[in-house]
Symmetry: C2
Subunit: 274 residues, 2 copies
C-alpha cells in the first residue's frame, strides 16, 4: 500500500472547532492540507457562496458539506420539515461547490428502527430529484450502534449499502467512517460491495480510544486508539476509492488545545497512521 | 404473548450492588422473585458452597454465575492465566450450584479482533472438558460494539452463534442481553437460530437510555429507555426459551437509591415492561 501524503488529506471544520472558517482555511492550506469538509455552523455569517470562494482562493477543494439527514420523526409534520431542511442544505452545498452532503440519517426512540429506516428511505426519495438537479450527491453515513436510539437507525455498512442500493442512482452512496464501523466483522466485505457498485463516496478517519469517556466528543486522533487504519484504508483502496481521507474528530480534549499545535498533530498523524 | 409474572424473574446481584448476598437473597425472596444470578464479588467471604445453601434455603434458584471469559491476551502467559482463572470459576459455579457461567469473552486493543476471537475459541476449548465434567454450561454473551476495544471481540449474536456452533456441545451456548443487542437488524433471525439448535441458554433484560451518560454504569431500568422488550421476549419465546428473564442493571443512579425502593421499581417494571 502506498505511503500516504497530505495531497489526500481533508479536514472537517469541526475537527478544529474553535477556528472560524477563514482561520481554518488559511491554516489548513498553509499546512499543506488539500481538502476541507465544511460543517454548516462554519458558514454561518459568511454564507455558502462566499465560503466556497474563500476555500477555492486558498487552493483547497471542498470535499463535502456536513450534514443532512435526521429524517425520522413520529409526526408527518416533523418529517416534512426535515425534508425541507435537507433541501435547503442541498442548495447551500451547491452554492458552496460541495460535490456531496453527508447524511446522518436519524432515528426516533419512540418508534422502531424499522419504521425509522422506512422514513429515511422516504426522506432520501423526496430530496433525490433536487440532489440530481443541483449535482450534489447524498452519502449515507452509518453510525455506531451506540447512536441507534436517536441519531441513526442505520448502524452498519451493510444497512447503508442496502439503503443506497434501493435508489440505483449515482447520486446516492455511502460514507465510510472508521469510528462507526471498525468493530464490524463484515466491514471488509461491505467496503468491497459499495466499491464494486460505485457507491463508496467518502472515507472518514479518526481513532477509537480504548477508554472512551464521552460517547460523542471523545474521538481520538489517528494513532491514539485501537483502529487498524492502514488495514481499513487498504480495503477502501482495493475497492477502488482514491479520494480524500477526511479527518473528522470531535474531541473536547483536542478542542481545548492550541489549534495550531493540534493541526500539526493531525497532519503528522495523517502521514504516519492513516 | 403471555403476561409475565415474578415466577420468571431472576435478578443479578450486581443490580442491587450495595446489598450483601444475604441481604439480596432475603429481599429478593420476600419480593416474590424466584431466581438469582450471582456475581463473583457477591460470594467473597462467604464462599460458593455456603452461598448456594443460603440461596436454596430461601427458596431461590441459582440461575447463573457471573462472569468468566476475558480469554484474549497478547502473551501466552496471559492467556494461560485466563484459562486457569476460568477453571477456578467453573469449580466455584459447581460448588454454588449454578447451571451455567456467563462468558464476557474479552478483547485486546493491541491485536486484531480476529486474533482475539481465535484466542476466545482456544480458551473455550481449553475449559470445555471441565465444564462438562462439572455439569456447568458456558454461555457466550455478545457485548455491544462499544466494548469491542477491550471487553469483547464478540459483538453481535451472529458472532456468538458462530462461536458456539464450532463446539457442537450442549455445554456451549449463548446469552442474549437486550442492552448489547437491541439495535441489531439481524436480532430476530439470530435468536431463532440459537433457539433452533439448543444454544439459547440465558436472557438478560434492562433498558437503553436515550441519553446514556456513562458507557458502563448507566443502564436503564426496564421502561426507562427505548428497547422494545416485549417484542424481543416474543422472539426469545418463539425460539423455545422459557427460562428466567434475568434483570442485570449496572447504574450509578440506581445504586445510589435506597435498594428496597429500587427493588420495588425492578419488580414493578418487570411485570409491566418485560
Amino acid at each position: 500500500m502506498d505511503h500516504i501524503t497530505l495531497d489526500r488529506c481533508c479536514i472537517h471544520t469541526i475537527t478544529t472547532r474553535p477556528w472560524t472558517l477563514p482561520e481554518a482555511v488559511e491554516n489548513y492550506a498553509a499546512a499543506g492540507v488539500k481538502g476541507i469538509s465544511v460543517w454548516q455552523n462554519a458558514i454561518e455569517g459568511i454564507g455558502p457562496h462566499r465560503a466556497g470562494e474563500l476555500i477555492r482562493q486558498a487552493g483547497l477543494d471542498v470535499v463535502s458539506y456536513v450534514r443532512g439527514g435526521f429524517f425520522p420523526h413520529t409526526s408527518s409534520a416533523g418529517r416534512a420539515q426535515a425534508i425541507d431542511h435537507n433541501k435547503k442544505l442541498l442548495e447551500e452545498a451547491a452554492a458552496l461547490g460541495a460535490p456531496l452532503i453527508v447524511l446522518v440519517c436519524g432515528a426516533s426512540p419512540d418508534q422502531s428502527l424499522e419504521t425509522s429506516r422506512e422514513q429515511i428511505r422516504e426522506g432520501i426519495e423526496a430530496i433525490l430529484p433536487l440532489a440530481e438537479k443541483l449535482n450534489v450527491k447524498l452519502a449515507i453515513e452509518p453510525l455506531h450502534p451506540m447512536y441507534a436510539a436517536d441519531r441513526s437507525a442505520i448502524n452498519t455498512l451493510g444497512q447503508a449499502n442496502d439503503m443506497a442500493e434501493i435508489f440505483q442512482s449515482s447520486y446516492v452512496g455511502v460514507a465510510v467512517d472508521v469510528y462507526h464501523l471498525w468493530w464490524d466483522g463484515d466491514l471488509e466485505k461491505e467496503i468491497a460491495r459499495c466499491g464494486a457498485n460505485g457507491n463508496l463516496l467518502a472515507y472518514h478517519v479518526c481513532d477509537w480510544k480504548v477508554k472512551t469517556v464521552d460517547m460523542l466528543n471523545d474521538r481520538g486522533l489517528m494513532g491514539e486508539g485501537c483502529i487498524n487504519l492502514k488495514k481499513i484504508r487498504s480495503w477502501v483502496e482495493s475497492a477502488g476509492f482514491d479520494g480524500y481521507c477526511e479527518v473528522e474528530i470531535f474531541s473536547d480534549i483536542h478542542w481545548a488545545k492550541d489549534q495550531h499545535q493540534f493541526l500539526k498533530e493531525v497532519t503528522g498523524a495523517f502521514i504516519e497512521k492513516v
